[in-house]
């Protein structure tokens, strides 16, 4: 027993009081005694929660045990009262129990009997406390659940993205206002209805039903674009699984792309517009410089000729930059794969190499092309692929000093057509390699100073190759040369 346990003994017989006190004190309890009913009641009234157990003699002069008990019930109904009865009659015990005593112990009793009765009472008290604690905890967690629910509801309501949750039967169990708006469904009375009655979009319904199909249990999510009214919605539908892997329902997150697409289109229009507006005046400037340089407006001094040549070079660079920007804006607008047709890559490459021969010769660079074996066709946009190889070969010549070599090889590599452009040029520093496909990235060094470029070429090349589902990679060693490898998937039927 615990020393914090306080027990009140109310008995008119000093022997009983002393006996109880002696026995229970040994058990570690704190015992308070009262020699009559009034004194006992007063002690309880003074501190209603002060005692865990009251040992109460039923037959006392003055206030009887029964009267004390009734009075105690008013002060502290949960106080455990163990009745001591000298008569040992069942009647008085039953009556006491009826009035709310917890237990009784007949006189005379042995110390063991007393200990047993008290410990039983204390056990009961402990259980009561435990039950109370559990009840409080349950109430608290219920309150937490309610808070959590309201938190989730608030989050869902504030989200710009739509959320639609169904159970495993495909009934809608949760939606937010964004979802209602995007799917054009009313908010009223849709909960618990089958999805088919709520949403009209068949692609969405198919996705939800598809994810719920048991044979599709390996499908984790479906992403698709839905055209609803004038809006373009991107929808990600995923299964909700239990720990055992059982499908419990679905969650669909809806993203309104309309605004984004419009913005993208506007950006493209803007870039194209600005580029055109910039290009015309620069063309005119260069045209006029050409005239003057040609001597059509009178003789020029050497100094004037030199300055005008520089001006022409600069305006030419500007024009190239604008052209590249236009190209980029076209690729952003999804025009990199506009005209798809079956193509022979080696023929495209051959055409490009022929065009570049003059330039290579002028620079004293040997330009060679090797085509290894039969080449399968690819599906591609001829103009854009031409641009890719044009750029790579042109770069290779640009960055290769006189007496160097540029080699172009085309071969079939499994399901891919591999084109390699190898040069013996100045190479690219290791640190710059990962960034050379970035927009506006140019390697700046003593060796590249005399080379004109906009820094957009390779990023355009990469965009076009990727639009063809291909890939481009680069290897290089400074001072030794650079190898670009373009891999394009071959046409399969």
């Amino acid at each position: 027993m615990n020393e914090e346990i306080k027990i009140l003994v109310i008995d008119d017989e000093a022997v009983m009081r002393d006996g109880c006190q002696r026995i229970l004190t040994k058990e570690g309890c704190e015992v308070v005694t009262a020699d009559n009913g009034e004194a006992g009641l007063a002690a309880i009234q003074e501190n209603p929660q002060g005692f865990e157990v009251v040992l109460l003699d039923l037959k006392m002069p003055g206030m009887s045990g029964m009267e004390v008990m009734e009075a105690v019930k008013c002060v502290n109904p949960s106080l455990l009262i163990v009745v001591i009865t000298g008569y040992a009659t069942v009647d008085s015990a039953v009556e006491a129990m009826k009035k709310g005593a917890y237990d009784f112990i007949p006189k005379p009793f042995t110390p063991d009997q007393l200990r047993l009765v008290v410990s039983r009472a204390l056990e009961k008290k402990k259980l009561e406390l435990e039950a109370q604690r559990l009840k409080a905890e349950a109430a608290r967690s219920l309150r937490d659940v309610a808070t959590e629910k309201s938190k989730v509801r608030t989050i869902m309501h504030c989200m710009a993205d739509g959320v639609l949750v169904t159970d495993r039967e495909g009934r809608v169990v949760l939606t937010n206002p964004a979802a209602s708006r995007m799917l054009e469904i009313g908010t009223n009375a849709i909960l618990e209805s089958p999805l088919e009655e709520v949403a009209k979009d068949t692609k969405l319904i198919e996705a939800v039903r598809g994810v719920l199909e048991p044979e599709n249990s390996d499908v984790s999510s479906i992403s698709q674009e839905l055209q609803i009214g004038n809006s373009l919605i991107r929808a990600h539908t995923a299964a909700v699984k239990s720990e055992e892997g059982e499908t419990l329902g679905t969650v669909t997150v809806l993203e309104d792309m309309t605004y984004l697409l419009e913005l993208d289109r506007m950006k493209g229009d803007f870039v194209a517009m600005v580029s055109h507006e910039l290009r015309s005046p620069i063309s005119a400037i260069e045209q006029n410089i050409n005239l003057i340089l040609q001597g059509l407006t009178g003789e020029l001094s050497d100094k004037q000729r030199h300055l005008l040549s520089r001006a022409k070079e600069r305006s030419r660079g500007l024009l190239e930059l604008i052209n590249d920007l236009l190209e980029i804006s076209k690729i952003d607008a999804g025009m990199a794969m506009q005209r798809k047709e079956p193509l022979q890559v080696e023929e495209v490459v051959k055409g490009v190499v022929e065009l570049m021969e003059e330039e290579a010769r002028a620079k004293g660079v040997a330009l060679r092309i090797t085509i290894n074996g039969p080449i399968k066709p690819v599906l591609g946009d001829r103009d854009n692929l031409e641009g890719v190889f044009n750029n790579l070969v042109n770069n290779a010549i640009k960055y290769t000093p006189a007496d160097g070599e540029v080699r172009v090889e085309v071969e079939t590599d499994g399901d891919y057509i591999k084109t390699v452009v190898v040069d013996t040029g100045i190479g690219i520093p290791k640190g710059d390699l990962p960034r050379i496909f970035d927009k506006f990235y140019r390697v700046k060094s003593e060796k590249t100073r005399g080379i004109v470029g906009t820094g957009l070429g390779l990023s355009i090349v990469k965009s076009i190759v990727e639009a063809h589902l291909g890939s481009i990679s680069v290897e290089s060693e400074e001072g030794k040369g650079t190898t670009f490898t373009v891999v394009l998937p071959r046409l399969t039927r």
Partner: protein
């Protein structure tokens, strides 16, 4: 000497081309838009037309098509002035222009004066 009509909405470009052609002794007349160009082509009956592609009122392709479809004017050689849309696929123009327009030749803007004169001489000698 041959009479050449220059059609371009950019007056600076018209002037530049005029200077080049006049220096070679050509008689030059100018129009500053597609509609005006089409009219002058019909009224002045030039020996050759230098025609800009991008013009706001009526673009060069349309002007070219209308002239080439008219038996009265289809024999007038047309040299299209194009702006290079992209460096990366300069070559596409060689093919596209040939395929998509009925112009007799084309030249990128800005053009080297000698190149322009050479093209015009070639077209006129045909």
């Amino acid at each position: 000497m041959a009479k050449i009509l220059i059609v371009d909405d950019d007056p600076d470009l018209v002037e530049a081309v005029s200077i080049i052609l006049e220096s070679k002794g050509y008689e030059v007349s100018a129009a500053y838009g597609g509609i005006e160009g089409l009219e002058k082509a019909k009224t002045e009956n030039p020996d050759l037309i230098v025609l800009d592609v991008m013009m706001p009122d009526k673009d060069g392709y349309v002007v070219c098509k209308e002239l080439k479809e008219d038996p009265k004017y289809q024999s007038i050689p047309i040299l299209l002035l194009t702006a290079v849309v992209s460096k990366i696929s300069t070559t596409r123009y060689t093919q596209q222009m040939g395929m998509e327009t009925e112009a007799d030749d084309y030249v990128d803007k800005p053009v080297e004066p000698e190149e322009l004169v050479r093209r015009i001489e070639t077209l006129l000698s045909k």
